[in-house]
Symmetry: C2
Subunit: 343 residues, 2 copies
């Protein structure tokens, strides 16, 4: 979109906003474009009207301005950040757009400053990785900047298109793989229950056991937070059970790596003494010791689809579906095998 | 810098360029700003003059435009990409700048298109990760966009500030750590000899051996390309020697992971049967099995320094030094121990 005030994609014009606010059209334009030469009272009144009318800027026809997309992470330390960046950058490049990458972790007071910068560079669209940013969402609506959320961590905000992975099917595939190898006692190191994706993986695990006529043993489910430390602790907790499982499904690759390290620390071998399955298929688990059997999330593809969706919104079109899940695949490597015969 | 034609930082004005080219000042401005409404012959003539005069745009005083920095990778699949992005984003955010991340791998014909986009978004500075982009360097000079190179892979281009890590000291520290544990036959899985950083690590290894009065055995040095597959193959080659080493220094973490997998494949334990040291300290090697002893490159700090340097150039200042190396540290974890007594 142009940095100049432009009229709407069919709903309300800035002329109408100006009339209702009792200010001039250039003043509304200054508010829309984040300029500082507007009094705080006027800005608040105009922003309120813009929000109430769901004002959206019209895509620019100016060929000279480069298209910029914003890709925003909660935390760039996330292990799959680089995979999503790869997908977004590739699709954005194809569309002739630049990708501005930023993180907001540990800067909760910064949402306002961040939106000010977003305005100043006239961002054409925002791709948010994980949600928990409802205040940002509201500010973006005021700016009329289209928003797409990738892999929402919680309940997605209303009216925001989201792109995720088929977590339930993935949880089921991981568990069915272990069942097919002959495992009957299968531990789960779960993700945080406040995250939808973690709940879906847990339910997929349950559904697979149920499908095989196995009664769920709740002691085989231990909590985790997706990080390696939790996989380490969770696996040790499972090993301390009176009757430990013969296989573990860790709801993230990082927890699977922690579990493998816990087993190594006790002199147990993977997969001879215990099978381990992860979830994500991060590049590094191809070279874990042993290479990890895991559920592949198409992170780069999710990023690409997010670009196509946000550009579609920027052109005033609607996405095909407000909520898309891309398929997950089981990738069998060396960390799973049939259970050892017990003496 | 502003997207408007601005005059020079002390050398030549666009009025002078226009006079020499026999065109109007607005035409020169259009060339400088990458507009399409200029004939190819005129563009070539003006660009040639701009280059010959080393034309640089003056930093803008307009407060409304957001500062944008471009961070360019050869390949976003690089394992340390995300660490550098983290550092750059943090320092850019502190400076109120946005970070545009892009990759040019596999798009060698795209340099022209890339610079066109760079122009269109009026980038304030470019941070290039690894070099091999001399054509880009030339085009950036025409645009007057400051450039900083992080961790150059080859001979850095003249006049471009570069930021690297102390590779020679790191190679020496890794080798000295193994010597201190009592190892005498230490293998090296080297990096590509065309890369300066790989040559420096190899020389550090040699210097440490020499310092301990050990004669270099050339059969203990095997080639690699920094990737896990090379570590796997290189470690197997070392194990096939008539007298294998008791420890291996892999010149990248990824090669160290490949080496560990090669050892696991032969039923050998790390560190009991063989010690392994890496180089990089990627986040994931804290949870390799076993956690990897490695040489830490301050990748995020290198990114931060690159931002400060490129912003300094954008303000017409000079960097303190055209070539900076940040220190490396040995991080001792569980993959190294004293050699086993041989029977």
């Amino acid at each position: 979109m142009a940095a100049h005030g432009a009229d709407t994609g069919g709903r309300v014009t800035i002329t109408e906003i100006a009339r209702q606010a009792g200010v001039s059209v250039p003043t509304v334009s200054r508010v829309v474009n984040g300029r500082s030469d507007v009094s705080p009272g006027t800005r608040a009144r105009v922003e309120d009207l813009l929000r109430r009318h769901g004002y959206r800027k019209r895509p620019s026809s100016s060929a000279s301005r480069a298209v910029l997309l914003d890709l925003v992470f909660n935390d760039l330390g996330s292990p799959w950040a680089v995979e999503i960046i790869r997908g977004v950058e590739e699709a954005a490049h194809t569309a002739g757009a630049g990708t501005v990458v930023s993180a907001i972790h540990g800067r909760s007071g910064d949402a306002r400053e961040w939106t000010r910068n977003l305005r100043a560079r006239a961002s054409d669209g925002v791709i948010l990785v994980t949600s928990a940013m409802n205040t940002l969402h509201e500010e973006l609506q005021i700016l009329g900047v289209p928003l797409v959320v990738v892999d929402p961590a919680g309940s997605p905000a209303v009216d925001v298109p989201t792109i995720g992975a088929a977590n339930w099917s993935g949880g089921m595939a991981a568990t069915e793989h272990l069942l097919a190898l002959g495992h009957r006692r299968i531990g789960l190191i779960a993700g945080p229950s406040r995250l939808l994706c973690a709940r879906a993986r847990l339910d997929g695990y349950r559904a697979a056991l149920e499908g095989s006529g196995i009664t769920l043993d709740p002691s085989l489910i231990v909590p985790g937070d997706f990080r390696p430390e939790a996989g380490f602790a969770g696996c040790n907790a499972l090993l301390d059970l009176p009757e430990p499982p013969t296989a573990v499904f860790a709801a993230s690759d990082q927890m699977a790596l922690g579990a493998i390290e816990a087993l190594r620390g006790r002199g147990l071998r993977v997969p001879e003494d215990m099978s381990v399955v992860g979830f994500d298929d991060l590049p590094e688990v191809r070279w874990s010791a042993p290479p990890l059997t895991t559920v592949r999330q198409p992170l780069a593809d999710m990023g690409k689809l997010a670009v196509r969706t946000v550009l579609r919104l920027a052109h005033g079109e609607q996405p095909d579906s407000p909520r898309v899940e891309l398929g997950t695949d089981l990738v069998a490597r060396a960390s799973t095998a049939a259970p050892a015969a017990r003496g």
